[in-house]
């Protein structure tokens, strides 16, 4: 039981980071970013590359990889999403699919499709950590949880207190009005994309350090958008409880239900939520009409 709880927490952290990525982008562009999973993969490869460039210097490699990820988010917004403004939403969603294809192709071109382990270059190890109640998690499991907590705490403070954060929320609600109030919403949206890419990549760096790195890791992203919807597509606050819920259902179905169902369990959560409360746990009902 303790182990199941610990695992739930770890999986939820991964999902929460990915889910935050979806919601941030949704609020900026009203688009579901189907390349979010590939941004996770990309984060892993950035870490792999920076670790290979500065072997044994995680202090250098990690921030550099994070910066590269955020920069990617900005580039994606400027090059792909900004020109898609005003086109049908699904055309924009499709553009994110093509972005995913591009990222995967680029990764294979540069790194090949072999399984990699960034930790080997970083010179770090990933020893198991026993917890209370007999549960054991890996060191990077703990890092994942810590990263998620830190990211969300920072994000909430940023959005609640800083003027830029308030402007980001304003632009997310009404881009035109925000622009008329002097807010350069392109800048704000680019920042949203940067944060989103950063969150996804952060998850990717930790996951690939913890488990493995390969070009097809992006599938994880597909499962995590159940989280974004269960919490409410436009609600950052909803991501955390939704991630916990989806992760708990998934872990429980492996441990006490049918393990085969664990693969579809996020989608079952999603279906149930759509039937019961389609706008999500903490989303606003008006979003339903908006898309």
């Amino acid at each position: 039981m303790a182990q199941a709880l610990a695992t739930t927490l770890v999986v939820a952290s991964l999902y929460a980071l990915l889910g935050a990525g979806y919601v941030l982008v949704y609020r900026a562009s009203r688009v579901l970013n189907l390349a979010q999973g590939d941004l996770l993969t990309l984060g892993g490869y950035f870490l792999f590359a920076t670790a290979a460039t500065f072997p044994g210097a995680p202090v250098l490699a990690l921030p550099l990889a994070a910066a590269l990820s955020a920069l990617t988010g900005v580039l994606v917004y400027v090059a792909l999403m900004r020109p898609m403004a005003g086109h049908p939403v699904f055309a924009a969603v499709l553009v994110t699919v093509t972005l995913g294809i591009l990222l995967r192709a680029a990764i294979v071109l540069v790194f090949t499709d072999r399984t990699r382990h960034p930790l080997q270059n970083l010179g770090l190890s990933n020893p198991p950590r026993p917890l209370a109640g007999g549960a054991v998690v890996s060191t990077f499991d703990l890092v994942m949880v810590g990263a998620a907590v830190a990211f969300f705490a920072a994000l909430f403070v940023f959005l609640k207190v800083s003027p830029l954060g308030i402007r980001m929320r304003a632009a997310g609600e009404r881009a035109l009005l925000a622009s008329q109030r002097g807010i350069n919403f392109h800048g704000v949206f680019a920042l949203s994309w940067a944060l989103s890419a950063f969150a996804g990549s952060l998850a990717g760096m930790i996951y690939s350090s913890n488990v493995r790195l390969e070009p097809s890791l992006g599938i994880l992203g597909l499962r995590a958008f159940a989280v974004a919807l269960v919490g409410g597509l436009d609600s950052l606050g909803g991501v955390v409880p939704a991630a916990l819920l989806v992760a708990a259902v998934e872990v429980a179905s492996v441990r006490w239900g049918n393990p085969l169902l664990s693969d579809v369990s996020p989608f079952l959560c999603l279906l149930v939520m759509l039937l019961v409360r389609p706008w999500g746990l903490f989303g606003t009902k008006e979003e339903l009409e908006r898309v």
Binding site: Y15, V136, V211, L220, V254, P259
Partner: protein
Amino acid sequence: MRGRILSAAVGVLTLVAAHPAAAQAPEPYRVGMTAAITGPFSAGYAPTYEAYRTYFKRVNEAGGINGHPVVITYEDDRGEPQRAAAAAKKLTDGALLLINASISPTYKPVMTEAEASKTPLLFGGGVCPREAFPPAAPLIFCTTSFGSKWDSRMALGFIKEQSGTKKVRVGFAAQDIPLSRIELEFAEQHARELGMDTIPVVVVPGAASDFTPFAQNLKDAGADWVFSWAPWGVEIGVFEALHRIGWKGNYILYGHQPAQDELTRLRAPNLHALTGNAMFIESLPIHAEITKLVQGQTNHPAHYMAEGWTSAMVLEAGLRKCGWPCTREKLAQALSSVSVDTRGLRGGPIEMTADNHYRRATYYKVYRWDAGKNAIVSVGGWSKLDIK
């Protein structure tokens, strides 16, 4: 502008339609390969494609076979059945032989095409279909080191041998693809026949966000041994999770290309890799030769080439035997009686017969990390399994 794009597209389509068979002298041996060179499964198959390319580059530079070069046309099916079908249709046009190095769902469509055009079909890199096993279908051949049923028999035999008289409880970790599940359900049944305790197969999604709960299930069920036969990610993922939660049993998995690196990375004495290819840590002359040849020709490490290299050797032998001019029927016949010395890449020669297009005997080795020697060691030598 747009009109031009349109006419360009039409022009290109016409080009595709009229795709001329490149005419050079001397006439080459034409072969086609469909492989999962990109796509989510490419890690296991792209190296086979690269091995073939490098191998026949050397053959052609050395004057070809019987004075004729070998021209292989490669198609990337991305592991998608429809794409493989289209690729097969394209490749059978004028090819002596079709090679498939892709995932099993591409087999049926490729076989259908090969059959329709009476083209021999060689599986090299993907798991062997049962049509290659005796009694073999006339046109289906397979060189891949791993093969369903044989691998499970071998792995379970190894477990039995290791545990001696002690009654062991065996768990199985499959991936949620039919191929892996069916194989391990067979293994579970076979283990019971061998008198072992078994735990029902644990099926793991390829994209599992965390392997721990699956590992916990195996641990809780009291597995002494766990056997995994699946794509690499699941095989090693379940092991690492078991290892982390303090499971003390033994683990055996099929040693795909990354096995050699991963044994070194993990340094776990209870992790066993069953494989049909000799690992490059044995530093045989052929290993050195391959390493030298692929330098700068591929992005993959040399030891990823073993699978494709062996397959290419078989094809070369078949073509030599076929002579010139070679036809599809003659090539099928030649392959049916081929005997290839793999120079140590495998435990013994690959010998095919009229009704056995797999090999008369298959050889396995088990490797693991030896903490004392600080190196990978093989547990015993080659074991031989007769294919009947």
